[in-house]
C-alpha cells in the first residue's frame, strides 16, 4: 500500500516540475502544495515558495500591463484599480507613485469640471474656488489666470490682484482683467502700466484708459495737497505726460506739467535731506527744469557735495560754484550788506579751495586749481562791470558757465561796451578772449595741454577768427605752441610765431617769459633755438622788449658756445658786440665785450714785444683804454730791466739798451716806479 502511495507522489511531483519548467507557475504551485501537504519535505517547501514567487510576479506583471492599457485609453479609474492590484502583490515603490499620480489626476479632473460648470453658470466665486483647488494640485499658470479672472468677475478685486501679481501675463484677457482689478482698488497708474501691453483700439477700451488717466490726475492733486510721496507724484505725473497725453486737453496738460515740476522740487528736497546726491544728479540730468537762481544754487551745492568725495566732479563744480556765489540774486540771500556778502563769498571760495586741495594729488584737482584762478579773475571783472544793474544780473558768470548757457556773446558785448574799465589793451583782450570761442583753447593752454589748445584753435570756424578777442586768444596759443616747438627742437616754431606777431608787440610778459625760459637753461642747443626764435620775432616785429630779450639770449648763447669750445675768443668778442648794440644796458654782453677786447689788446702788446717791435707795443699800451694793458706792458718793462741789469753786457751797452727802453716807456706813463728806477740808473 505504502509503495503504491509513493508511486502516486512521484507522478504528481513529475507533473508539477513539468509545469514549473514550462513557466506555468500557478498550476505548478497547486501541484507542489498538494504534494507538500502529504510529504512535508523541506526541499519541496523551498520549491513551493520559489514557485509562489514566480506566480506572483507573473500576476503583478499582468495587472501592470492591463493598467497601462487602461491609462492609454483614458480610463483612469480602471488603470488605478489594476495598479493597486499589482501593488498589493509586489509592493514596488514606482507603482505606488503611479497610483498617487492617478489619484491626483482623477481629483483635478473632477475639480476642473466643477469649476468650469460653475463659471458657465455665472457663479464666478465658486468657479474661482474650483480653479484654486485645481491650481493647488496642478499649478498651471493658465488656470491661475482663469481663477484671477473669475475673481474679477466676482468683484473680488483685491484677491484678484494678489493672484495676478506674481504671474507673467502675456494674454490680452489676463492683462485687461489685471489692470481692471488694479483700477478698482485705486491703483490707477499701475493699471495704466499693465494696459500698456494691450494694443486694443476699440473705443470702449480707449475711453476706459482715458478715464483711468483722469483718475490718476485727480489723485495727483489730492496727494499733492498732503505734501507727501513726492516721488510717486513725480513718477505718475511723468507717466501721464509721456503716455496719457491724448486723455487731456491743453489746459490739463499744462496743469500736469506744473504738478510734474512741483513733484520734482519736492523730491529733490526729500533726496537732499536723505543726502542722496547722486540721485538728485540723475533726476536733474533728465529734467527740463529751467535754470533759475534757485536751481543754479542747488546745482552748485550738489556739485560741491559730490566733489567732496569725487575729484571728477571738480571741473564742473568750479564754474557753477563761482557763478552761484557771485550771482547778485543768490548773494542777496547771504545778507543785507555788500561787505557781509563779500565776506561770505570769500569764505565760500575758501571752502572750494579746501575741497580742491583735498584732491591736489589728482589730475582733476590740479586742473580745478588752475581753472579756479582763471574763472575767478574773469567773473570778478564781470561782477564789477554789472554792478547793481538788475537787468544785467544774469550776465554775472564765469567763461565756462557762459559758454555752457550761451551767454558768451552778451558778455563779450558788455566787455566791449566797457573798454575803458580795463587796465590796458592786454587786460581787455585777455578777459574777452576767455569768454570768446578761443576760450576753450586758452583753458587747455593754462593746464599746459598745448597740443589740445592748438587743436581747439585749428577747429575754430573761420568767421570768428577776425574777432579781436578770438585773434588775441589764437595768437597767445600760437605763441605758446611756438615755444613748445622750440623746446622740442621743432623748426616749425617760425610758423606759429608768425601768427603771433601782433601779440608780441603788445604783450611784454611774453618776451619776459622767453627771457625766463632761456635763463633757466644752459645747453647751447636750446639757447641757440631761443636766439633763433627771438631773432625771427625781432625781424617780424621789433620792440624794445624783444630786442632786450634777444640781446640777453644772444650773449648767453655765445658764452655757452665759447665754454663748450665751439667759439674762439675773437669770435666771442665779435658775437658780444651785437647784443650790446641791441640793448646797451646788457651788462653781461658789455662785460664779455670788455673782457675779450682787453684780452686781445694784451695779446697784441705781447705779440709786438715778441717780434721786438717795442715801438708798436708802447703805442698800443699808450692808446689802450684799459689800464690792465698798461699794467701788462710795465710788467714786461720791469722784467726787461731786471734782465738787462743781470746780463753780461758792459756798463755802456747796458746804458744804451736801458735808455732805449726808458725812452719808449716814459711815453706811456712817466709816474711808474720803474721809470724812476731806470732814470736813476741812467743818471749814474
Amino acid at each position: 500500500m505504502k509503495g503504491k502511495e509513493s508511486k502516486s507522489n512521484d507522478v504528481d511531483l513529475e507533473r508539477a516540475e513539468k509545469l514549473y519548467a514550462r513557466g506555468n507557475f500557478s498550476l505548478a504551485l497547486v501541484e507542489f502544495e498538494k504534494i507538500q501537504k502529504k510529504l512535508k519535505s523541506k526541499d519541496l517547501a523551498d520549491k513551493t515558495d520559489q514557485c509562489r514567487k514566480h506566480a506572483d510576479d507573473m500576476r503583478a506583471k499582468e495587472f501592470v500591463k492591463r493598467a497601462r492599457k487602461a491609462e492609454k485609453k483614458g480610463d483612469l479609474k480602471n488603470a488605478l484599480v489594476y495598479f493597486e492590484s499589482a501593488f498589493r502583490i509586489n509592493g514596488e515603490a514606482w507603482i505606488s507613485e503611479r497610483i498617487a499620480n492617478l489619484n491626483k489626476r482623477l481629483n483635478v479632473g473632477g475639480a476642473l469640471l466643477l469649476a468650469r460648470e460653475a463659471e458657465k453658470k455665472g457663479d464666478f466665486e465658486k468657479a474661482a474656488i474650483g480653479y484654486d483647488k485645481v491650481c493647488q494640485q496642478d499649478g498651471a499658470v493658465m488656470l491661475q489666470v482663469k481663477r484671477a479672472q473669475c475673481l474679477v468677475k466676482a468683484h473680488k478685486y483685491e484677491e484678484a490682484v494678489m493672484v495676478f501679481k506674481p504671474l507673467s501675463l502675456s494674454d490680452p484677457c489676463g492683462c485687461y482683467h489685471y489692470g481692471f482689478a488694479l483700477a478698482k482698488i485705486g491703483h490707477f497708474s499701475e493699471c495704466l502700466k499693465v494696459w500698456e501691453n494691450l494694443s486694443e483700439n476699440a473705443n470702449a477700451f480707449v475711453n476706459q484708459k482715458h478715464m483711468i488717466c483722469h483718475l490718476v490726475a485727480d489723485n495727483l492733486y489730492l496727494r499733492l495737497a498732503e505734501g507727501k510721496d513726492y516721488y510717486g507724484i513725480f513718477q505718475d505725473a511723468d507717466y501721464l505726460l509721456q503716455h496719457g497725453g491724448a486723455a487731456f486737453n491743453k489746459e490739463q496738460i499744462e496743469s500736469l506739467k506744473r504738478i510734474h515740476q512741483y513733484g520734482q522740487y519736492g523730491l529733490i528736497e526729500e533726496l537732499w535731506q536723505e543726502e542722496k546726491y547722486n540721485n538728485i544728479e540723475s533726476l536733474l540730468e533728465n529734467s527740463t527744469l529751467s535754470m533759475s537762481t534757485e536751481m543754479l544754487a542747488l546745482q552748485a551745492k550738489l556739485g560741491f557735495k559730490q566733489a567732496e568725495t569725487d575729484a571728477g566732479a571738480l571741473t564742473a563744480l568750479v564754474p557753477l560754484w563761482l557763478t552761484a556765489i557771485y550771482s547778485p540774486d543768490i548773494a542777496d540771500t547771504f545778507g543785507a550788506s555788500e561787505s557781509f556778502r563779500k565776506d561770505v563769498r570769500r569764505e565760500l571760495i575758501v571752502a572750494l579751495e579746501k575741497t580742491i586741495r583735498s584732491h591736489s594729488g589728482t589730475q582733476w584737482g590740479q586742473q580745478a586749481a588752475t581753472y579756479l584762478n582763471i574763472e575767478r579773475e574773469a567773473i570778478e571783472i564781470i561782477f564789477a562791470l554789472v554792478g547793481r544793474d538788475k537787468k544785467k544780473h544774469h550776465l554775472v558768470c564765469t567763461p565756462l558757465y557762459a559758454n555752457k548757457t550761451n551767454k558768451s556773446e552778451e558778455i563779450l558785448g558788455l566787455i566791449r561796451d566797457n573798454r575803458d574799465f580795463f587796465e590796458d589793451e592786454q587786460h581787455y583782450l585777455k578777459t574777452g578772449a576767455y569768454y570768446s570761442p578761443a576760450g576753450e583753447g586758452l583753458y587747455r593752454l593754462k593746464i599746459n595741454d598745448v597740443e589740445n589748445a592748438m587743436n581747439a584753435v585749428e577747429h575754430l570756424p573761420s568767421q570768428v577768427l577776425a574777432d579781436e578777442f578770438v585773434d588775441y586768444g589764437v595768437q597767445l596759443i600760437c605763441f605758446h605752441y611756438g615755444v613748445a616747438c622750440i623746446e622740442n627742437g621743432d623748426l616749425k616754431f617760425k610758423r606759429y610765431f608768425y601768427r603771433a606777431k601782433g601779440l608780441l608787440a603788445c604783450a611784454p610778459d611774453l618776451s619776459e617769459m622767453l627771457v625766463n625760459k632761456s635763463l633757466a637753461i644752459d645747453e647751447w642747443d636750446s639757447l641757440h633755438a631761443y636766439e633763433e626764435a627771438l631773432e625771427y620775432i625781432n625781424n617780424l616785429k621789433s620792440s624794445p622788449d624783444i630786442r632786450r630779450t634777444l640781446s640777453l639770449v644772444m650773449i648767453r648763447s655765445a658764452i655757452a658756445m665759447s665754454n663748450s669750445g665751439k667759439l674762439s675768443e675773437k669770435a666771442l668778442r665779435m658775437k658780444a658786440s651785437r647784443p650790446v648794440t641791441l640793448y646797451s644796458e646788457n651788462e653781461m654782453a658789455r662785460r664779455v665785450l670788455n673782457d675779450t677786447t682787453l684780452s686781445q689788446e694784451i695779446d697784441m702788446v705781447f705779440d709786438a714785444i715778441d717780434r721786438f717791435k717795442l715801438g708798436k707795443a708802447t703805442r698800443l699800451a699808450r692808446q689802450s683804454q684799459y689800464p690792465e694793458v698798461r699794467e701788462s706792458y710795465f710788467e714786461f718793462v720791469d722784467t726787461i730791466y731786471t734782465d738787462i741789469m743781470e746780463s753780461d753786457l758792459t756798463k755802456d751797452e747796458k746804458h744804451v739798451v736801458l735808455n732805449e727802453v726808458y725812452e719808449w716807456a716814459i711815453t706811456v706813463d712817466k709816474g711808474r716806479p720803474i721809470i724812476a728806477k731806470m732814470q736813476m740808473h741812467l743818471d749814474l
Binding site: Y176, L215, A217, S255, R258, V344, E347
Partner: protein
C-alpha cells in the same frame, strides 16, 4: 561737517534754538562735545552761519510757490464706480 545735522535744527534757527539744540545734543550723546561745540560756533557767527546755510541747505519753496497746482475745474469728474468691466477681451489668448 554739517552743523544743522549735528544739532538737528533747520536753517534760520535763532541763537536760543541753537543753544537748546546743543544742550539736547549733549544729552543724547550722538555727537561728541567737540562736534557740538564746533557746530554751535559755526552757526552763531553770522558769516559762518551764512556759509554753512549755503553749503548744507537748499530752499526750493520759492519755485514751488510760483507754480499754480490747483486742480483744473474740468478734472475730478470721473467716478470709479462708472468703470465697468469690458467683455471684448474675454477668452482672448
Amino acid at each position: 561737517m554739517n552743523p544743522f545735522k549735528i544739532l538737528n535744527i533747520k536753517q534760520g534757527a535763532d541763537k536760543k534754538e541753537i543753544i537748546r539744540a546743543v544742550a539736547s545734543g549733549m544729552q543724547n550723546k550722538k555727537y561728541s562735545a567737540y562736534e557740538l561745540a564746533q557746530a554751535q560756533k559755526m552757526l552763531l557767527a553770522p558769516v559762518s552761519a551764512a556759509v554753512q546755510t549755503f553749503l548744507h541747505c537748499i530752499d526750493l519753496d520759492p519755485l514751488k510757490a510760483a507754480l499754480d497746482v490747483k486742480c483744473p475745474d474740468n478734472l475730478g469728474t470721473e467716478q470709479l464706480s462708472e468703470l465697468n468691466r469690458l467683455d471684448i477681451f474675454d477668452d482672448r489668448i
